[in-house]
């Protein structure tokens, strides 16, 4: 609670008081009076601060609202600034002369205007407001943990920090694509059908002539093509094209591979943004849109509809998918601990203090007999001495009595041997025990104990969980991963394993995706548009499953578009025969950079070319999307594809 400044004042006041009372009192009482006065003032300030701290800290009430478009909203829209308003009320009866509030921002968020900090003097019943502006660029989730409270006295001698934990989560929905949506509704050419109606080359009740065929008994007379019948001298029936609304089935990849942030954003955010724009544009065209979100293990399907409520539901699904974090556990315990400990200190300072979360010295002691070899040592070294001590002493005593001076020498020798043995045992005992006090081990045990108690408190799992966090690496790793995921703290994720292989190839998701496509094909009616928003570049042999499913879909006259996210900084695939482009970087040796990047780029471009070729053979189209591609461009590409197919 004392600051460095406070400690200095206390030490100075103590020294002056001691000198005045003990040493110089016989000459003058002024020094003692001065020291005692300073000490009295310091003690009074200390007591006053302790009183204020205890009286007020648990009596601060926090209210948070999110404002967008001048309205309080439960969810936010991406690409539109929103204001966060935090109100803190002092519900106690004590005046706080100086308190600093800091609202903890969601990860990867920066303040656009305003300040998340307020330094105020708070009277009883008074409120303080913090207001600032955020601009969420991508869909996802905004998680606010609460507000940090820092109390101090006017002189800066005393200090206390707490955290008002009021977790609040706000979904950030993909932006409403009103401009793109309206533009989609306009006909691009007269050959296109009116919005919402798409021609299908199957017999139906549309307006466009599809074919002529021989009359079959039962055909309605109005369908008879009289001129053609007259020319061929037999009855010919007209067949018209089928006019149906296109059902658009979107498949969104939310697997582990696309949840990993690359260059500051997650590919799933980009895919979700594109999917949201696509869905809105399709609904504006009066198409039905369904969504299937899949990951490495399961799918979540939303049936196709075209109501506005359905659009909002889809947007929520996109936002929830974009908010997912990679749950592939981080295995490096040092990284986990180094990330979790500051977080716990920030958010749970009340559970990290020594009063609550003790760290006794004996915590670091390593008992020898907790190890197998310790028992072995004990039994082999000290056991025989203890067992054979009485008979040996008996023999020695008999020897002493028989041989006089020589016997006494043997007696001393025996005691010396026994004493040395015991001392060696104690030396090893102490040496083993004190190893726990070495800085590395001490730091590790202390951090695990602190975090273990926080976990046990949050889970209500009792003291055993504390001890398990100290000793069980697996338990500590899993719980710390969960702790960080709950608080949405991004962890550094290793993309490659120790063998240099990509850790998120997504082979599992290939099976899930192909199953989802096959299910959709089974449920499909007329021609449908399947849009697969997925990273299929790293699929290995399992890619064939997806290709087979796509081939089946196209065989059933559905159209399939595959959109893959293109990593930032990777140049576009070159034209055939052109040299590979280079990534411009000048901070590493040119030869190595050139060699490595050429190999990586070549592999990536080859994977893309292979995928495009395979999909083309299956009748599907592949589109790559760069991070800075506007959604409008993607829609242009999609629309062009749809238009071409429709005119065919």
């Amino acid at each position: 609670m004392l600051t460095a400044r406070g400690w200095w004042v206390l030490i100075l006041a103590g020294v002056v008081t001691l000198l005045g009372v003990v040493v110089v009192a016989g000459w003058t009482a002024s020094v003692a009076a001065f020291g005692l006065g300073l000490l009295g003032w310091f003690s009074f300030e200390w007591a006053l601060f302790a009183f204020r701290r205890r009286a007020t800290v648990n009596k601060l009430e926090l209210t948070r609202t999110l404002i967008q478009g001048r309205r309080v909203v439960p969810v936010a829209w991406a690409n539109r600034p929103c204001r966060v308003r935090v109100s803190i009320r002092n519900a106690s009866r004590v005046w706080l002369p100086f308190v600093v509030f800091d609202d903890r921002l969601p990860p990867r968020m920066a303040v656009q205007s305003g300040s998340p900090r307020a330094a105020v003097s708070l009277a009883p019943g008074a409120s303080c407001e913090i207001e600032y502006e955020l601009d969420p660029k991508r869909p996802g989730l905004l998680r606010f943990e609460g507000v940090s409270v820092r109390l101090s006295d006017l002189c800066g001698w005393f200090y206390h920090r707490r955290f008002l934990r009021e977790p609040a989560e706000f979904l950030v929905l993909p932006p409403l694509q009103s401009v793109e949506g309206k533009r989609r509704g306009a006909k691009r050419a007269n050959t296109l059908p009116p919005p919402g109606i798409h021609r299908i080359r199957r017999a139906g009740s549309g307006d466009e002539l599809l074919d002529l065929r021989d009359y079959v008994a039962g055909d309605p007379p109005k369908m008879i093509a009289w001129k053609a019948s007259a020319r061929r001298d037999r009855l010919i029936t007209k067949e018209f094209e089928n006019d149906v609304p296109v059902r658009c089935a979107v498949f969104l990849d939310a697997s582990q591979g696309v949840r990993v942030p690359v260059a500051g954003y997650k590919p799933v955010e980009q895919l979700a943004g594109i999917g949201a724009a696509l869905s809105q544009a399709a609904v504006k065209n009066r198409d039905l849109v369904g969504l299937t979100v899949f990951d490495d293990t399961a799918t979540q399907m939303t049936p196709a509809k075209r109501t506005s409520t359905h659009v909002i539901r889809l947007l929520r699904s996109y936002a929830e998918a974009a908010a997912l974090l990679p749950d592939r556990p981080q295995t490096d315990l040092d990284v986990l601990t180094a990330t979790a400990l500051p977080l716990a200190n920030d958010i749970y300072p009340d559970l990290m203090t020594r009063d609550v979360n003790s760290r006794p010295w004996r915590l670091y002691w390593r008992p020898l007999l907790d190890t197998k070899w310790g028992w072995l040592f004990f039994l082999l070294w000290l056991g025989p001495i203890c067992c054979f001590l009485p008979p040996v002493l008996n023999l020695v005593m008999q020897f002493v009595l028989s041989f006089g001076i020589v016997g006494i020498g043997v007696l001393f020798l025996s005691f010396w041997v026994i004493t040395i043995s015991v001392q060696i045992f104690w030396l090893i005992w102490w040496g083993h025990g004190l190893r726990g006090f070495l800085p590395g081990n001490r730091r590790k045990v202390r951090r695990r104990k602190q975090l273990g108690l926080v976990y046990a408190t949050l889970d209500g799992s009792g003291p055993l969980a504390v001890e398990r966090a100290i000793h069980d690496d697996g338990f500590f790793r899993d719980r710390t991963n969960r702790f960080l995921t709950e608080h949405r703290v991004p962890l550094p994720v290793h993309l490659l394993d120790p063998h240099g292989t990509f850790r998120f190839p997504g082979d599992a998701k290939a099976g899930v995706l192909s199953d989802a496509i096959l299910r959709s094909v089974g449920r499909a009616r007329d021609n449908e548009l399947f849009v697969i928003l997925a990273d299929l570049m790293h699929l290995g042999s399992t890619r064939s499953k997806v290709i087979r499913a796509v081939r089946l879909a196209t065989a059933r006259h559905h159209r399939v578009l595959v959109v893959v996210p293109w990593p930032e900084g990777v140049p576009d695939p070159p034209a055939a025969g052109a040299p590979l482009p280079r990534i411009a970087r000048d901070d590493e040796p040119a030869a190595i950079v050139s060699l490595v990047e050429r190999a990586v780029l070549a592999a990536y471009h080859k994977a893309f070319a292979d995928l495009r070729a395979e999909l083309s053979r299956a009748g599907a189209t592949l589109i790559k999307v760069n991070p800075d591609d506007a959604v409008r461009l993607v829609l242009e590409k999609l629309d062009r594809l749809r238009g071409v197919r429709a005119r065919r």
Partner: protein, 285 residues
């Protein structure tokens, strides 16, 4: 309060509220200078004031500590040398308290010291840095906004200084007039008048004052600690209460739990080695 920007002295001076605080601090320093000059002479007034000016103009913290030390030293030896120092007397010990000059001096110096620390909170740093948090970027120092100053602060400052001075004089009077007498049931007695012999078993006067002071300090600190500890228990939040109970339980059973966990870990390693199912050994307790 500013962030990531250390204001210069000129920027601070342009702020009217800070200017007022600076004038108040300077006035307090001037009063202390006058009192020291009046009762202890020019040397005793000049040296501490030089540090006070340094602390005020350059917003430095350390000169305030030196000011306190130098004032204490020069109260004892006003010209800085032991030449004028006479011999120590018991009379001074017993009758040195509540001298008007001392009361004025101490009140003035205390007022300045507190005012200077408050001024440093406005212009240099009011909150310490959080050393244990690596998430928060190391912003600039957090200062108390000068606009938060209330008018009553100056009145309270002077009043509190007078109260602290009176407290010091009172404690000194008690220390100088109470003596241990180990023959009594309550081993304390009032010191007899000057010139009368003390009958009883006691300790030397200096040690007597020291032990009294230490005992009083311990009693005051212990009582305060006890009161605030109990009050803190009453004010625990739910999570703090759970953590406290869990920690106490961990203290009670730590050795047994550690042994249990180590054996469980060994069994788990053995099961892993043999490729056996270890679900029962996994997960939370």
């Amino acid at each position: 309060m500013t962030k990531n920007h250390e204001p210069t002295i000129f920027e601070l001076v342009r702020d009217p509220a800070i200017r007022t605080a600076a004038f108040v601090t300077a006035a307090c320093g001037l009063v202390a200078f006058g009192a020291l000059f009046l009762f202890r002479g020019p040397v005793a007034a000049g040296i501490p004031t030089a540090f006070a000016v340094y602390a005020l103009l350059l917003r430095a913290v350390w000169p305030v500590g030196v000011y306190i030390i130098s004032v204490a030293f020069l109260l004892f030896m006003p010209d800085g040398t032991p030449i004028t120092l006479g011999s120590q007397t018991t009379f001074m010990v017993r009758n040195g308290g509540f001298a008007l000059s001392d009361m004025m001096l101490v009140a003035a110096v205390l007022t300045y010291v507190i005012a200077q620390y408050r001024f440093l909170g406005l212009t240099r740093q009011a909150l310490p840095f959080d050393a244990d948090s690596s998430f928060g970027r190391k912003d600039g120092a957090v200062r108390r906004p000068a606009t938060l100053q209330a008018d009553r602060e100056v009145k309270w400052l002077v009043g509190s200084a007078v109260a602290a001075m009176a407290f010091g004089q009172l404690v000194w009077y008690v220390l100088a007039h109470v003596q241990f007498d180990f023959l009594l049931t309550l081993p304390l007695r009032w010191v007899p008048d000057y010139g009368r012999d003390f009958e009883g078993i006691s300790i030397g006067p200096a040690l007597n004052r020291f032990v009294l002071l230490a005992l009083a300090g311990m009693v005051a600190a212990g009582t305060g600690r006890l009161v605030f500890w109990y009050w803190g228990l009453l004010r625990l939040s739910r999570e703090e209460a759970v953590a406290t109970v869990t920690d106490a339980g961990w203290h009670e059973a730590r050795r047994e739990l550690a042994t249990q966990e180590k054996r469980r870990g060994a069994a788990k390693a053995e099961a892993d080695r043999r490729g056996l199912l270890t679900e029962q050994l996994e997960g939370a307790p």
